[in-house]
Every structure is written in structure tokens, then in C-alpha cells.
């Protein structure tokens, strides 16, 4: 074990650096997203929830919690890593990392850790806040852990990739605002896709975040618009693709090294 730690000191140091970055600006990286998502629970759940019918046998204010936790976590994993990597490229201190005796997979993993830690802290924090006002069960913990693992791998790697390809700060924000946020809302954070009329019902099934939301909602509430195996399969395949892409970028130096 200790030999393993010695061999991977670079990985540990860079992972620690990414985590320290998150914690140094914790009001922005942790508290703000928890607060904004909690406001959704208060406004949409408690204020309007009483006027809405149950969804798939679950009270509305409970139904939306897994989706809001998912949305906050994936946005944090993506935003953290895209900005951290882009900042490192922009200020050129990434050269200190690329010149160091670390393997490409170590650099890739370490740069992903910050987003994963941040997303987990937000997810746990938001769940704790939600439990103060609504009763959210965890019906299938194994499926929940697998779904969260896939979600974090997918969006942490996506963030690293975006940070590597971005030419400006606008590019990283563009993906959040134009891709992730709309797909998350349309993936069924606030409603069951089963209630949508055709063709919106069918179109929603082409949205990859729909499967991720349903996998995590199944883990919490035991309900899903599609088979949990299909949800986990789609999310796992996308996560594998993103991890493979980011690994390739670090292995070849494409876009990182001129």
C-alpha cells in the first residue's frame, strides 16, 4: 500500500491541489449551487407542489428532489473541471504539470477529482437540506451508487475535455448554458416524460440526460420512466466514451501540447 502511494505521489498531489482549489472558494463552488437548487425545492416543491398531483405515486415535492440533485451535481462536475483546466492552460501553469514525472492517466484522473469532490459535496449537502423539508427515501442504494459513479465520470471527463478544447471562457459557459442546462430540464427534472404527448415523448428518449435522471431517480424513489438497466447502460456507455476521449487527449497531447 505504502509503495503504491509512493509511486503515485504526483497523482495524490495534483488531486489534492484540485480539491484545495474547490475548498478555497467554497462559498462559490459549494454553497451557491446548494442554495440555488434548494430554492427550486422550496419554490416548485413546497409552494406549488400542493397544487400538483402525485407523479408515479410519489408526492411532487419528493419527485423533483433526485432530479435537482442530479442537475446540481453534473453541472458542478462539468463546470469545475472545465474552468480549472482552462485556467491552467490560460495561465500556462499546466506546463508545470505536463513536465512533471506523471503518467497521462494520472494527470487525467487528478484533474477530474476536483469536479468529483465538488459534485459529491453538493449532492450530499443538497440531500441534507432537502431532508429538512421533505422525506426522500433511498430505495435502491446499489443502483444509486452506480448511477452517481457513471454521472460523475461522464461529466467530470466532459469538463476536462471542454477545458482542453476551449479557446475562451465563453466556450466553457456555452456548453453549460446551451447544452447541459436545457437537456437537464428537458430530461425530466420537473416532470415525468411519460406524461408528454407524442412526438415529445419519443424525442425525450433521444436525450442522454433523460436516462441519467431516471437511473438516479430509481435509486432514490424506486420509480423510472424506462428500465433501470437501459438507463444505467446508456449512462455507462456515455461515461466510458468520455473517459476514453479525455484519456486519448492526455496520452497523445492533442490540443494540450502544440
Amino acid at each position: 500500500m505504502s509503495e503504491l502511494l509512493v509511486r503515485h505521489r504526483g497523482l495524490i498531489a495534483l488531486s489534492a491541489r484540485e480539491t484545495v482549489r474547490v475548498m478555497k472558494i467554497w462559498t462559490m463552488t459549494i454553497v451557491a449551487p446548494i442554495l440555488s437548487s434548494f430554492l427550486f425545492i422550496l419554490v416548485f416543491g413546497l409552494s406549488l407542489g400542493g397544487r400538483l398531483k402525485e407523479v408515479q405515486g410519489v408526492e411532487y415535492q419528493v419527485f423533483i428532489v433526485p432530479g435537482l440533485i442530479t442537475m446540481a451535481m453534473i453541472q458542478a462536475a462539468y463546470a469545475n473541471n472545465s474552468t480549472s483546466v482552462f485556467q491552467a492552460r490560460f495561465d500556462r501553469y499546466i506546463n508545470d504539470i505536463l513536465a512533471a514525472p506523471m503518467k497521462p492517466w494520472e494527470v487525467n484522473l487528478a484533474l477530474s477529482i476536483g469536479g468529483i469532490v465538488r459534485a459529491l459535496l453538493i449532492g450530499i449537502g443538497l440531500l441534507v437540506c432537502a431532508l429538512a423539508v421533505v422525506d426522500v427515501p433511498v430505495r435502491h442504494p446499489f443502483e444509486l451508487i452506480v448511477a452517481v459513479t457513471f454521472a460523475l465520470a461522464l461529466f467530470a471527463s466532459f469538463g476536462v475535455i471542454a477545458g482542453i478544447y476551449a479557446h475562451s471562457w465563453d466556450h466553457t459557459a456555452f456548453v453549460t448554458n446551451i447544452v447541459i442546462l436545457p437537456l437537464t430540464f428537458l430530461g425530466g427534472v420537473f416532470y415525468s416524460v411519460d406524461r408528454l404527448p407524442s412526438p415529445w415523448h419519443e424525442i425525450s428518449h433521444a436525450n442522454p440526460i433523460f436516462y441519467l435522471l431516471n437511473a438516479i431517480r430509481y435509486g432514490f424513489l424506486g420509480i423510472s420512466d424506462v428500465s433501470v438497466l437501459l438507463s444505467l447502460g446508456v449512462t455507462g456507455a456515455l461515461a466510458a466514451a468520455m473517459v476514453a476521449w479525455s484519456s486519448w487527449l492526455f496520452r497523445t497531447g492533442h490540443r494540450l501540447k502544440p
Binding site: 504526483g10 498531489a13 501540447k257
Partner: protein, 243 residues
Amino acid sequence: MPPPPALAISGLTKRYDNGFQALDSLDLEVPSGAFFGLLGPNGAGKTTLISAVCNLIRVTAGEVRVFGHEHATYAARSLVGLAEQDVNLDRFLDVEETLLYHGGYYGMDRAHARRRAGEMMDVFDLRAKAGVRAPHLSGGMRRRLLLARALMHEPRLVILDEPTAGVDFELRMELWAYIRRLHCEGTTILLTTHYLEEAEELCEEIALLRGGRLLARDSADGLRSSFDADSLADAYVKAMSIS
């Protein structure tokens, strides 16, 4: 058997994606323990050469060996310290953290890194700024920290890319004194500079680069003699004007 050279470069070629050829089949050997200068105009290939040694670019062709090790290996990377021309410090870290994390990236254990960071802060007069983040340091302090970071993991080959660019006279003298001391302790120094007097004052041997090719290499006296010049500046101008 003689020790391997600090740097052995053969047939090094770099053509960037936009077609610009920065290095053209360059051969260069820097002996272990040397104080070696690289001179040339902007675009001569000095920074590209350094970037190739430090694995910061993808080389098009050729081979780079550091103390006998292929440059991309763990062993080679551990032996090289780089202070880049631009101040590229991590804005989220303070002075001490910058040194500690750098030590971690290079495999130093926490206690060793802490001890070495303390030494570096003392040597470069950074102790009073230990808790200050890089963006809040003065230009001179940032330059000191850059050098301290490059030396943190005790490299055998230290590459200094225009280390005194834009610094005041006092700091330049201080940095010269420290670099000289480092060389006296056996560290190989590869220095690029636009200040000819700096190269003449510090370097035992100087290579003149232009258009990614090696024009000449010799001591300052040797270059003056080869180009029939009164000063290194004259020799430089004559070398660069050869078509």
C-alpha cells in the same frame, strides 16, 4: 566510461500545425555540469527546443536524451527543472503551497518537500511572503518564486528561459549569484537570454541558433575569434547575417 551528457539532441525537428518549422534537424550536446547558453533572435527555436526537452510540445522527429534517459521517461523528467520565460504560477496557491505541490508532482514526500520548500524560501527571500498567493506578489517576487519552483525537486539539469527578462538590476545580480552558486555545486545550467552580456558573463559555452538550426557553438572568446569580432555582440551580428 564517461558520464552521459546532460542533454543529447539528435535530428530534432519541430513543425507546428500551422506549417511553421521551428527546429530543423538540430543536433546539440550539452555536457554534464556545463553552463550552456542559447542565443538567437525571436523565432530562432530556443523556446521550442526547451519545450521539446521538457515534454511540452510534440516533436515531429528526432531524439532527446537527458543524462542518457529518453526525455519522456520518469527518470528524465525528474532530472529537469524549468523556469519559463512567462511567469506561469498557479493563481490559487500561495508561495509555500506552490513549492509543496510542485514537490508532490515530482514525487517528493511531504516532510522532504516541506524542508526543501523552507530552504528555497530562505534562499530566494520569500519567507515573509509564504502565505501570499502568486497574483498578489510583485514582479520580482514572482520571478524568484518561478526559479525556486524550478529548483524545488533538486534537478540535475536546470533550464532557465530568459530568467532575468524585465527584472531590476539588483535582482538580476542576485539571480546571477544564485545561478553561479548552483553551477558550482555541479548542476548543469541551460540558459536562454537576449542579454549578450549575461551570456558572456555566465556561460562557459554558447550556441547560436537561427531558423531552428545551430549556427555555431563555442566559448565567448571562441565565438569572437571565429567571427573575427571585437565583442560577443559583433560576433552575434555577424553570425546572424550569414545567409
